[in-house]
């Protein structure tokens, strides 16, 4: 058991790697009654073409990682939700571009609930019948998202940017793509990506770390895993330029929704370099489009944007893009005004006092995040899978310079790399 103490954050993290390669982290929060645990695999919607050392190259249907997440909850003796409920645990799961996370939150029977979490994820049970049944449920989930304009405008933007990289494929797939999923394809994906060496267990709450490690050690000893070779994820080459500069979809909305963003060139960054780039970019976007900026206030007073206007930055070693926007009555005019105003900022760069204030805001936001066991678990796992460390974010923020942010601004804002997505009323 390795002990990592972060004095400034007043947090102590415990870490151990199991013999089979499973990474386990425990963050005790003695003042908390509840325990929150996530069991994550580095496997998401983009991993649709891969090869495990010694195996064959495989391509699987779109939406299968998410389908697999749904099917994990079914056990020979029934639904695992019932087992969690009997022990007072609230369980759930989600699938993103690059990970699948199973989780529970509970205030009692923690050891029992931890065993249930680890056991159900390590015990796949797929039958022809239960796979067919799930297609109806996920079909309704897909239809639900199809009616959601925020989702449509966001995915429209990624589709506009990426021609080949599977990040542009909806996480749930389509009704057609999931219709081809069988229990055999599910087992193929399961066996490739759910090996303990590809997974991370994070536990935060009122727990004793040594007891937790003891429990997980014994649990894993009872299961036999053969050593797994490296997983190679295969991505077809992605063109540098955006696939389409402008996309539109139609839904019953009261006012158009617009998102725009810049597609970056692939840089393959990982580890601290990737984290630093991400933090710098987010600071830069906040200085450009944050709600305290002069630009934001002008556009708000011109009634071109509303409180829904926001921005984010999403990245992996194979893709990186910003997504900016919200509701607007005049997408064309808004984009024109943004080009004008951002053009002026590009000439001058950001001011030192604005930079310092934005940095303070980010540091405060980071510290506030540490009040939430859920956010800690999710963010920590996300950082680890990228080779970074969530608890080193504070000194990183402090070391970022104004020059770096200004350089990032010029690097990121490349109008040739701009794509725009709209949702308008039919």
């Amino acid at each position: 058991m390795e002990k990592l103490h972060y004095e400034r954050l007043q947090e102590t993290l415990y870490h151990e790697v199991m013999d089979n390669g499973l990474q386990v982290y425990v963050l005790p929060k003695p003042a908390f009654l509840k325990t929150y645990a996530t069991f994550a695999t580095q496997y998401g919607s983009v991993d649709n073409h891969f090869k495990v050392a010694g195996g064959e190259e495989t391509t699987v249907p779109d939406g299968i990682a998410h389908f697999l997440e749904h099917k994990m909850f079914e056990e020979p003796e029934g639904d695992i939700f019932a087992t969690f409920a009997s022990n007072g645990a609230s369980a759930n799961a989600f699938t993103s571009f690059d990970q699948t996370v199973y989780l529970f939150s509970a205030t009692e029977n923690i050891e029992q609930n931890l065993s249930t979490l680890v056991d159900f994820v390590q015990r796949p049970y797929f039958t022809d019948e239960n796979v067919e049944k799930e297609k109806g449920i996920i079909g309704q989930e897909i239809n639900m998202y199809a009616d959601n304009p925020d989702w449509r405008v966001y995915f429209g933007l990624i589709e506009a940017m990426y021609a080949t990289h599977p990040v542009h494929i909806d996480i749930a797939g389509t009704i057609e793509s999931i219709s081809t999923i069988t229990k055999e394809t599910l087992y193929t994906c399961y066996n490739s990506f759910y090996h303990p060496s590809n997974m991370l267990l994070f536990i935060v709450g009122g727990v004793d770390p040594e007891k937790v490690f003891e429990l997980i050690r014994n649990n894993q000893k009872g299961k036999s895993y053969e050593k797994q070779g490296e997983i190679t994820r295969i991505f077809d080459p992605e063109p540098e330029e955006v696939a389409s500069k402008h996309v539109e979809s139609r839904l019953a909305v009261s006012i158009p929704k617009m998102m725009f963003g810049f597609k970056e060139k692939v840089d393959g960054l990982t580890g601290e370099a990737a984290v630093r780039r991400d933090l710098t970019t987010k600071l830069m976007l906040d200085l450009l489009f944050g709600s305290s900026t002069a630009l934001y206030q002008k556009l708000y007073d011109e009634e071109l944007i509303s409180d829904s206007f926001g921005h984010e930055f999403n990245s992996s070693p194979q893709y990186a893009f910003s997504a900016i926007g919200g509701d607007t009555k005049d997408p064309g005019l808004l984009l024109e005004r943004i080009k004008e105003e951002v053009g002026l900022i590009l000439e001058k760069g950001f001011a030192a006092k604005d930079f310092e204030r934005a940095r303070k805001k980010k540091i405060g936001g980071f510290l506030r995040m540490l009040n939430s066991p859920e956010s800690i678990a999710h963010e920590f796992t996300r950082y680890q899978f990228r080779g970074g460390d969530l608890f080193e974010v504070l000194p990183l923020y402090e070391s970022i310079t104004l020059d770096e942010v200004n350089a990032r601004l010029h690097d990121h804002v490349d109008w040739e790399q701009l794509a725009v997505s709209l949702v308008v009323s039919p």
Partner: protein
């Protein structure tokens, strides 16, 4: 349980509730202002906080206002407007970093109080009234918010169902008010509304963090001293049970992929009743969780939906059911849902359903104490209902219930309205 650990007092006409704790990295501050929900005031009351967040005497420009928050290490500031029973509640929230985690020259708790006090009591005035441009822009903001409810079909269907069910009561009103009222509001009329709102509302101020009641009281006197001339009047419940004579069905057509099926139920049980615990159990067994009757029968057995759940609002004495389905499955879904309601009325409740639901409710109530704002919210419900019952007492009551008591609660729930949002006919 420690979530009855609030210490209560009052100053400057404001009721003060303080929970000293070192469990969090922030100070959580909430100010609730409640007035009766009435057609004549609902829109102006909703508009007030939107104008207050634009500027104050010391920070007249919105950019200055927001920059100030960023200087306080990105202090979280926001407000919500909602209905609780027949009251319209405005809740201001601040979440500020505890100074010990940053090198701050100012006391961040003191500065946050200074800020919030100024927002509430020293708005920007021009010629003895609110700045006209702020009123005009925020009127548009509310108009757009009201119009955009239809964009989120799940929320739209839920709100339409309530609106139809309560069409003869103030509760039909949206907490943001009515679009038709907006044009008639002037800077002068709104300033008058603000003054009567501030003097008439019941004000409750909460702080959770590393502080003391004495410190908070001093801060309230210093920064809210001019808030009002009179003491806050306690909330009064004027709940009268509604008898359902027949089930009313409302169908609405919009351009949607998925049909939204919502139901509204009436019950005579409210938050202040001793049978509140039984109503919580009823809702939990019906559709509060993934082990509940609705999830198991509508989703898992029949694959009709991705979501199928129920909620119980103890302040208004209503239950709601929501699901997203293929429009052609409407009849089948309604039958299955009504069958679950009948099962509960017939007392067909298993020991397992009882024990699982108890464990889940116990967990929910225990988890409250791990979140500052959840603790605040729980205590505010006590202020609102006048019922002094700790989370532990509620838990004990839930634990003591059997199938007979849940059946008795089921007998008070009557289906009132079925609302169905479906696609346009081809």
């Amino acid at each position: 349980m420690t979530n009855n650990g609030f210490q209560h007092g009052s100053a400057a006409g404001i009721r003060i509730h303080v929970l000293p704790t070192k469990a969090f990295k922030t100070f959580a501050i909430s100010l609730y202002a409640g007035v009766p929900l009435e057609e004549s005031t609902v829109t102006s009351t909703a508009l007030v906080p939107f104008v207050l967040r634009r500027g104050t005497a010391s920070y007249p420009e919105t950019t200055e206002f927001r920059e100030r928050l960023e200087e306080l290490y990105g202090a979280g500031f926001g407000f919500d407007i909602y209905k609780r029973g027949d009251y319209q509640i405005v809740q201001f929230r601040m979440d500020t970093i505890n100074d010990s985690f940053v090198q701050s020259k100012e006391s961040l708790l003191g500065e946050s109080f200074a800020f919030l006090g100024e927002v509430l009591t020293r708005p920007l005035l021009e010629d003895g009234s609110f700045r006209a441009s702020y009123v005009a822009t925020e009127r548009e903001t509310i108009r757009k918010k009201l119009e955009s409810i239809v964009n989120d079909k799940i929320r739209y269907a839920a709100e339409r169902c309530i609106e139809e069910m309560c069409r003869k009561e103030p509760y039909r009103l949206h907490p943001l008010g009515q679009r038709a009222d907006l044009d008639g509001i002037t800077p002068e009329s709104l300033y008058q509304s603000y003054n009567s709102w501030l003097n008439g509302a019941t004000l409750d101020l909460y702080v959770v963090g590393d502080t003391t009641p004495e410190e908070v009281e001093k801060l309230v006197v210093a920064h809210f001293g001019r808030a009002r001339h009179s003491e806050s009047v306690p909330y009064v419940s004027n709940f009268t049970p509604v008898t359902v004579t027949e089930v009313r069905t409302v169908e609405e057509r919009l351009d949607v992929n998925q049909g939204k099926l919502n139901m509204g139920l009436r019950t005579s049980i409210t938050y202040k009743d001793d049978s509140y615990a039984a109503a919580l159990m009823y809702n939990g067994i019906l559709g509060g969780y993934p082990h509940s009757k609705l999830f198991v029968n509508v989703r898992e057995k029949e694959s009709l939906a991705y979501y199928a759940s129920s909620r119980y609002d103890g302040h208004k004495g209503i239950g709601t059911i929501q699901s997203g389905i293929e429009s052609q499955n409407y009849g089948k879904a309604v039958d299955i849902i009504r069958k679950q309601l009948d099962e509960l009325k017939a007392g067909n409740i298993s020991e397992l359903e009882l024990s699982q639901t108890k464990a889940m409710i116990r967990n929910l109530l225990s988890e409250i104490q791990d979140s500052a704002f959840e603790m605040i919210s729980f205590d505010f419900n006590r202020q609102l209902s006048g019922k002094d019952r700790t989370a532990q007492e509620l838990m004990d009551q839930v634990d003591s219930l059997g199938a007979a008591e849940v059946k008795a609660a089921a007998d008070t729930f009557e289906l009132d309205t079925i609302y169905f949002l479906t696609g346009k006919e081809e």
